[in-house]
């Protein structure tokens, strides 16, 4: 990776592959029925070639989406340093966030119904800034709980006034 940052004392952690599976599930669940329905309708009401074209186009888009989701999931990583948490993700649009423990106001752990089914959770770190975009997706629940407790503990120790 091209982040020439001071090495964290702990290595970068990847996130769970389940993140990819959740997103693939959602993508396929939406696009494949759409491809079938659009293809059949166009086949019947307009012309067979248009139906084939629509179905093929949507299926190719699905395939490309699956590849993109895979790359995106692999790009997610985070690392705990002595005074701050680093989160990096993104393939086309890369972002890296450095959140000092002392600046954290609260930590959210969320998991929607689909995420829960796939056994992952999302952690969101909130600072006094609305621009801080510190989210870690695709954490196994026990890792999310561990990280939450650890962040809370470190935040407590280093808490600074505004």
């Amino acid at each position: 990776m091209d982040h020439a940052l001071a090495p964290p004392e702990q290595p970068w952690h990847p996130v769970s592959e389940q993140l990819f599976r959740v997103r693939r599930f959602l993508l396929v669940a939406v696009l494949v029925p759409l491809a079938v329905a659009g293809g059949v309708l166009a086949w019947i009401f307009v012309a067979p070639w248009l139906g084939a074209l629509i179905a093929a186009g949507l299926l190719v888009a699905t395939g490309w989406g699956v590849v993109a989701l895979r790359r995106n999931q692999r790009s997610w990583r985070y690392a705990e340093r002595a005074d701050d948490l680093l989160i990096a993700h993104g393939v086309q649009f890369r972002r890296l966030v450095v959140v000092p423990y002392g600046r954290m106001q609260f930590v959210d752990v969320t998991a929607g119904p689909v995420e829960r089914r796939f056994g992952i959770a999302t952690i969101t770190l909130h600072t006094a800034s609305a621009a801080t975009d510190a989210v870690i997706r695709g954490l196994p629940p026990e890792e999310a709980a561990r990280l939450r407790d650890r962040l809370a503990e470190r935040g407590e120790a280093r808490s600074a006034g505004l």
């Binding site: 940052l5 649009f93 450095v98 000092p100 621009a131």
Partner: protein, 457 residues
């Protein structure tokens, strides 16, 4: 001048027993409800005028008025506030009781706002801005003007950690914006003319053709034209920046008068803005982020709570900046430009992009026509981000963001060399860590250079 210059202890001598619940001013329902009443009366008045049937209108309007008055009185009767140790506690609500604790240790700013009607009645609203609040966190509307001033002094004293009966801190005016400069600043603004010219054209056209009904369709335009010109002059009328041990004080407004107190160390970030037309005059506007004042709007239209100086010569603005960020000389901070290859991303804008840091602040500059200088103290940085879009990646560039609390100031260093951006993020994380260590205490009376004479009392 409308700045209240009060000093000396709270009338009454001894420290008042503040756990005692207090009420808002009995005229509160009138000051709050007059707008709704005006609307009701206007609707029924119109109805009566059209149908010639006045009796029904009068009866309904009377009933509405009575119910509203009763509700207003009930609300007033059920609202009490008291000071408990470090909290201002506000109990309110007729059907659903609500208790609000405003923690004074987290007080970010105190405003005394006097809208027009309230001024006629001699009333004022006290607004407490607390860190992490989205809307007016603790608002006491309305109090008698003198009570509001006394209560503000008391809350600030408690928040500062001095004796609550220390009285109003003395204030010393730093800058007063003269009327000609204020009017000049409005006239030298694109936005003003953008709305003013069509407005004038329409009115002249309407009068010339006698087709006044046409004008009704353009009322929103007229409102905008008013807000950008006369509205601004009225809002920033007699803008006074003063200094007191309680922090910076801003007082302004002709119709609605607003008096803001921002305690020391509560300013999160500062921006100097110089619109193109102001350059010849050397004027700038100063905007600040204060936690609790909130973001205002994203589209660059100013949030007047966050305006520290609507217009002033650059040297004057830098002088005020030196008061809120002691020991900071923005012009002395060494800035570096972006690499030349950034021209493939932003051929014109990249020429004016620069950023740099000294041991206290990070400074970013940008803007070809409208020049902006953003300043954020290292200690106030909430988080640091590095972002890179596809084009930036192709060019080996990246953008660094220093996140501040919501407000008009957003500090970014766009289109830096990718390696440099990574280094910048790392260095900034380190600088902010050191900055936070050196931060002053929460209770500003224990700051050196505070106001020893007030603590002694």
């Amino acid at each position: 001048m409308t700045v209240e210059q009060q000093s000396g202890p709270v009338p009454g001598g001894a420290v008042p027993d503040n756990a005692e619940p207090r009420r808002l001013h009995p005229l509160t329902p009138v000051a709050r409800g007059w707008k709704a009443m005006a609307v009701v009366i206007a609707i029924f008045g119109q109805h009566a005028a059209r149908t010639q049937e006045t009796r029904l209108g009068v009866i309904v309007a009377g009933c509405v008025f009575l119910v509203a008055l009763l509700w207003g009185l009930l609300t007033w009767a059920f609202t009490v506030y008291r000071i408990e140790d470090d909290d201002l506690r506000i109990d309110s609500g007729v059907l659903f009781r609500r208790t609000r604790h405003v923690h004074l240790g987290r007080l970010q700013a105190v405003d005394v706002v006097r809208p027009f009607i309230a001024r006629l009645l001699g009333l004022a609203e006290l607004k407490l801005q607390v860190a992490g609040g989205d809307s007016a966190e603790g608002s006491l509307a309305y109090l008698r003007e003198s009570d509001a001033a006394v209560l503000r002094a008391e809350l600030l004293a408690r928040a500062a950690g001095v004796r609550p009966d220390a009285g109003e801190a003395p204030e010393r005016p730093l800058v007063v914006v003269p009327m000609p400069v204020l009017i000049g600043s409005v006239l030298l603004s694109f936005a003003s003319w953008l709305f003013l010219l069509p407005t004038l054209g329409l009115i002249v056209g309407g009068v010339a053709t006698g087709n006044m009904a046409l004008l009704l369709g353009f009322i929103p335009l007229f409102i905008l034209a008013w807000q950008f010109t006369v509205g601004r002059v009225l809002r920033y009328f007699d803008f006074t920046v003063s200094e007191s041990p309680d922090g910076l004080r801003l007082a302004h407004g002709l119709i609605e008068h607003r008096h803001q107190t921002v305690p020391p160390g509560r300013v999160q970030a500062v921006r100097l803005v110089q619109p193109w037309l102001w350059r010849a005059k050397g004027w700038v506007r100063v905007e600040v982020n204060v936690a609790g004042y909130g973001g205002g709007s994203e589209d660059g239209s100013e949030n007047h709570e966050s305006t520290l100086l609507p217009v002033a010569p650059r040297e004057v603005a830098l002088g005020v900046l030196g008061r809120i960020l002691p020991g900071v000389d923005v012009d002395a901070v060494p800035l570096t430009a972006v690499p030349a290859r950034a021209r493939w991303h932003s051929p014109v804008r990249r020429r004016k992009m620069a950023c740099g840091a000294d041991e206290k602040v990070f400074v970013a500059r940008r803007g070809v026509f409208r020049r902006e200088t953003d300043v954020i103290p290292h200690a106030k940085v909430q988080s640091v981000r590095r972002t890179q879009g596809p084009l930036e990646r192709l060019l080996g560039l990246a953008t660094v963001h220093l996140d501040s609390t919501p407000g008009p100031v957003r500090v970014t260093a766009p289109l830096r060399d990718a390696e440099e951006a990574s280094r910048l993020v790392d260095e900034q994380a380190e600088r902010s860590r050191i900055g936070r260590r050196g931060e002053g205490p929460h209770r500003w009376s224990s700051l050196s250079g505070g106001s020893p004479e007030r603590i002694d009392r």
